[in-house]
Amino acid sequence: MKIRICLGTCCHLMGGADLYNFLEEQLEKSNRDFELETPSCLDYCNQADYEAPIVEIDEEIHDDVTIEKLKNILNQE
């Protein structure tokens, strides 16, 4: 699984760093094989349909992501 967390100004302000810290913890704890990337900006936040923070999981975009939401997405995968 490839996860990219946007750490641009907007996503960082809206909790991107918390998502990163959570995922890094998960990466250490779980045996799941996932690749974590933190691009400086994914360029979705300036599109009206998306709300920060943005996380891209296996090329699928998720917006307005919280830790709870992220847990649910990971459990479904």
Partner: protein
Amino acid sequence: MGDFFVEVDHAQLSKHNKQVPGDVFLSKKADKENRIVSVLADGLGSGIKANVLATLTTTISVNLTCNSVDIKDTAETIMKTLPECKERKISYSTFTIIDIDLRANQVEIMEFDNPGFMLFRDQKRKSLEKSKIDMNNPIGTSQTLYYSQFNIELGDRLIVFSDGVSQAGIGNKNYSLGWPEEEIASTVKERMSRLKDASARELSNFLVEEAHKIDGKEAKDDITSACFYFRSPRRTLLITGPPVDKSDDYKIKRKVEQFGGKKIICGGTTSKIYARLADKEINVNLESINKDIPPDSEIEGLDLVTEGILTMSRAIELLEAGGPDKIDVDDPGYKLYNMLKDSDYIKFVVGTKINEVHQNPNIPEDLGLRKNVVKKMAELLRDKYLKKVEIEYI
């Protein structure tokens, strides 16, 4: 200004348990930045009284010399007008006046009772001949002052310090007479050979720290050191924000390529434009992730790559405060602050495209317009840190 820049900085520690130092260092630029006049004064005694005495001496002598009064006449005015201690029959404040004339490439120094200055050239200490000048104080006691003059050479470092440095450790087993002059000089030389491009700030801090160590970390007197570094100007380019017109994106790459000096990009989109046009990779520095500021990145050919508004705002906070309370070397805002502080000339290239994201009402009001943030940063660098600043909008 000549082909070199004069970096002036000083460091200071008050006598143990004293809040206010009795040493004062003051520096001022004059004649459209072609002259720098600095004075280090050590007021009699310690604490507030000494500070007032030293402040009087530095302020009067800096202002007189800046107003084109000859350095010897300034010293004479100070000696004649300011009284000596009635009980101890010694002058109320010692001083070193340094007058740097960049047009004439010349430095003049007047010394009264402070430890002698040290000039380092090509990593070696250079001795200069000093002329002795006797002057009478108001009650007719003759006092001896020393006048020196030298022509500046690129790379010269001039160091002055108070007796808190030369008398560090006095009475201790290994330093019964204080820190010997030759040892101070060799310690400074060794530091310079290790850190060839040591800034005035680094050297003055270093000397104060060493003296403090010799004093057993409890300063017996106020410890002050000032350093003047005559060097080539340090130039920095800071690009932030994409151009209004996408067809101007190439300008970012061209500006980076054509600039001689350090190069910084502040802004995720701006750094992506550069990386795309220059065909370089962006590597995010995960060590620098913290809650307040997005991490910085590395792009080959650039000295620093950070996020835009938040990081610049953090650097502004640090510039306003004069430094962080606690140093975090991974903090991108601190990295930016340090690079700006160590530059003499800063060129801002500001893309004026409005970032739609920042117009979102859900975003904290911290996100001022990029133009305003740059303006504030430039004003601080120019007015508080005496940097030469230029802003170009694209």
